[in-house]
């Protein structure tokens, strides 16, 4: 095998001329992967906007029945985790691997907080019959009414059937986002293991930076999901 062991911190893989070239290539690969992420979520955003155009009243009802305080909390948690991740990259680049390790632990903790909050949100929705899958769709109308703003009280009688579609998109988009968070946690543990093995140095930190980019894109998607789902 050509993956014979060599010191990754000082030597590039066999088909690269230098660590710099290897780093640049790796980073560009991650950026291309980010473009695919944008397009993949983009498809769901197309769905969101098309149905919003068709059933915009139901989007208001649906948005009101979500708990925006929890959404805002999660936004904050993700922003902080993005910050710790960015700072972890900074520390790795300056050679402070121990600090970087601590920061990544905080990032993972934030990711878990996000998922726990999401779990409570989801279970509340399922409890009130608002999960649009299998045969579980049986929304508790009095509950939804109680959640509505005054300005949208009149809408609900119009066409409650299409409310389902809002929740389809809600669960599809936040669900896919949640899966990305899970994958992100997996990647963090991979990074943690490699930091503990002392694999990174100011010259070789592509993996940390790549996972960082991934984590920020997950954050960006949430930046859009939060207002679209919870606020407007």
């Amino acid at each position: 095998m050509s993956t014979a062991s060599y010191d990754k911190k000082t030597q590039a893989a066999h088909h690269f001329d230098s660590l710099d070239q290897q780093h640049e290539a790796g980073k560009q690969g991650v950026w291309l992967f980010m473009a695919t992420e944008i397009m993949m979520f983009g498809g769901l955003f197309v769905g969101y906007f098309l149905y919003r155009f068709k059933f915009h009243d139901m989007y208001i009802v649906g948005g009101d029945s979500l708990n925006w305080q929890l959404g805002a909390l999660n936004t904050l948690v993700l922003l902080i985790s993005s910050f710790t991740m960015a700072q972890a990259v900074t520390e790795t680049m300056s050679g402070n691997n121990k600090k970087a390790l601590k920061l990544i632990y905080v990032t993972v903790a934030c990711a878990f907080v996000f998922l726990i909050v999401k779990y409570f949100e989801y279970s509340a929705k399922v409890h009130h019959g608002m999960f649009p899958g299998f045969d579980m769709w049986n929304p508790d109308m009095t509950y939804i009414m109680s959640q509505l703003r005054e300005s949208s009280q009149g809408i609900i009688t119009a066409d409650p059937a299409n409310l389902r579609l809002f929740f389809v998109l809600y669960f599809a988009m936040t669900g896919l986002h949640g899966i990305h968070i899970l994958i992100g946690i997996g990647l963090m543990f991979w990074i943690i293991k490699r930091i503990k093995n002392d694999e990174f140095s100011p010259k070789y930190y592509t993996a940390v930076e790549g996972v960082g980019l991934y984590w920020h894109i997950v954050d960006i998607i949430w930046i859009f999901l939060f207002p679209l789902m919870y606020l407007i």
Binding site: A4, L32, F33, T36, G47, K54, G133, L165, V168
Partner: protein
């Protein structure tokens, strides 16, 4: 850096390591290309078998040996296999993998492990698709249109999952190629000195990276629709079935350019080499590849002229679709101009490339008929569409693919195939192909609808000619594969580095190449195709 000496004793990339395991875990791009060769040829024969069976069924107006259900399943399998498992990975993943690093003077692609991973994605996805046969097969057609695909047999979920996994294969290959082209070029290999096949792979990779994720999310939603019943494409729950078509064609129209652009790249190489003449309009060909890949994202609605899309948008898509003709025509002009006054050698790769030129021209021009909004209303869902699609995909992409296979054959295997039999196969496929599909243009314009296993007796002469033609095409391709496989094992060793007189970098190294391609990374000083 220091690894090359540990491998130098092995000779070339094929025999430097032995055993099945060394192949399955290899991260050498040339070996991965050979593994692609094996699986893609197997799928090609499998998909081709269904094509022949379909044509055989259509020999008589009455059902011959298939029920309608069987026919639909065979048709879907033929389409899915040929599109997702043969043509999409065919040129970029097989020939691209082999030739790209050699042509730009690199030791490997940028991410060798990812490259192996994308081979496994293809194999796993394909295995899932084949598994669906045991669940009774799929009868939706390769486009999986909702709402039918949401209600049809359980096997749909499996096939869609398979296509989803294969999508990753395509994305990973695309990412790999873009980075390789940007970061691993040999010293002096500027973008404007890249061989045209590399340019076409670059344009293809852009589509693979940008469009394939949309297919991923579409198929994922279809799986959710089927398993959870979420109703996002179900009109009875407020969903919009046309949305599925938007999603699907946003990927699948650019996907046909994933299939054709690299074939165009191969033809550029072959025509220049076998005319022994500098390619006419290098920049025009390079930029037109990029133009096609950009325009390909603007035309998906022409698949939906009659599916309830708005008429206004239909007109816009109709006009935009015509635009694709411009860069394609530029390429055609340049290829013919390259051959003009060249020293044309009619060897097998060149014959296949000439097949490409003539057949793809017909395919492209009939594409303009179908792009015209009003004409399409008459022609949609007839054999005219079938014929057009096969002229571009079989007559275009696959002819280019085989041209490339024969062109790089001596480099890949270090041996020479039987030239006479190779030429015979090229001529057979050309004759058989036209015999199969010209009648389909005629009966399509007369109103013979596609996807039926029975038909009115007046179409019988066309269908019979078409079926007979399909036997000749099949025989031609089987002969071509036989020639290659036999050449690999029993061919005369071809020790010459440059049997065709090519000017690109891969012809400056041993055939077959050593494990790390170049003993010394070359420095490029001029453009490719500098003949005389």
């Amino acid at each position: 850096m220091s690894q090359s000496d540990t491998h130098s004793h092995g000779g070339n990339y094929i025999n430097c390591e032995k055993g099945l395991w060394s192949w399955l875990t290899t991260i050498d791009h040339k070996r991965i290309a050979l593994m692609y060769f094996i699986v893609i040829m197997a799928f090609f024969l499998f998909g081709g078998l269904f094509a022949v069976l379909l044509r055989l069924e259509l020999l008589t107006p009455e059902p011959l040996f298939m029920t309608g259900d069987m026919y639909n399943r065979a048709m879907t399998l033929h389409g899915s296999i040929m599109v997702f498992m043969v043509i999409i990975p065919g040129v970029p993943a097989l020939l691209g993998n082999f030739a790209l690093p050699l042509m730009i003077g690199a030791k490997d692609v940028a991410f060798p492990k990812l490259n192996l991973g994308s081979w496994y994605c293809l194999v796993i996805g394909a295995a899932i698709v084949v598994l669906s046969l045991f669940w009774g097969g799929v009868d939706t057609g390769w486009t999986f249109y909702t709402p039918y695909s949401a209600k049809s047999s359980d096997a749909v979920t499996l096939v869609v999952l398979g296509a989803f996994v294969m999508g990753f294969s395509s994305i990973l290959t695309g990412v790999n190629f873009i980075v390789t082209i940007h970061k691993l070029r040999a010293p002096g290999m500027t973008m404007m000195r890249l061989p045209l096949f590399v340019w076409s792979l670059y344009a293809t990779a852009i589509i693979q990276v940008i469009a394939t994720p949309v297919l991923g999310i579409t198929l994922l939603l279809l799986i959710f629709e089927r398993t959870f019943g979420i109703g996002i494409f179900d009109a009875s729950m407020g969903g919009d079935p046309v949305l599925f078509q938007h999603f699907f064609w946003f990927y699948s129209h650019p996907a046909v350019y994933i299939m054709i652009i690299p074939a165009m790249g191969i033809v550029s190489e072959v025509i220049s080499t076998f005319s022994q003449k500098t390619i006419f309009g290098y920049k025009a060909i390079a930029y037109s590849s990029l133009a096609i890949s950009a325009i390909s994202f603007l035309v998906w609605g022409h698949h939906m002229f009659v599916s309830g899309q708005s008429g206004f948008l239909g007109k816009i898509f109709s006009i935009l679709t015509m635009l694709v003709g411009v860069p394609t025509a530029i390429k055609m002009f340049n290829w013919v101009a390259t051959m003009y006054k060249g020293r044309v050698k009619l060897d097998t790769p060149m014959l296949y490339s000439i097949n490409f030129l003539s057949l793809f021209t017909i395919g492209g021009v009939t594409g303009l008929f179908l792009a015209a909004f009003s004409v399409d209303v008459h022609l949609h869902d007839t054999y005219f569409v079938v014929a057009h699609f096969h002229y571009t995909m079989l007559g275009g992409a696959l002819m280019g693919f085989f041209s490339g296979l024969f062109y790089w054959f001596p480099k890949m295997s270090g041996k020479m195939y039987d030239e006479t039999l190779g030429r015979v196969s090229a001529i057979m496929t050309f004759v058989g192909f036209n015999l199969t599909f010209i009648p389909q243009f005629i009966m399509g314009s007369q109103g013979m609808p596609r996807r039926y296993h029975t038909y009115d007796g007046v179409f019988a002469p066309y269908h019979i000619t078409s079926t007979v033609g399909s036997w000749i095409v099949a025989a031609g391709f089987i002969l071509a594969i036989y020639v290659m496989v036999r050449g690999m094992f029993k061919g005369i060793p071809c020790t010459e580095k440059n049997p065709w007189g090519g000017t690109t970098l891969e012809w400056s190294i041993d055939s077959p190449p050593i494990h790390e391609n170049f003993t010394e990374i070359p420095t490029v000083t001029g453009r490719p195709y500098e003949y005389r």
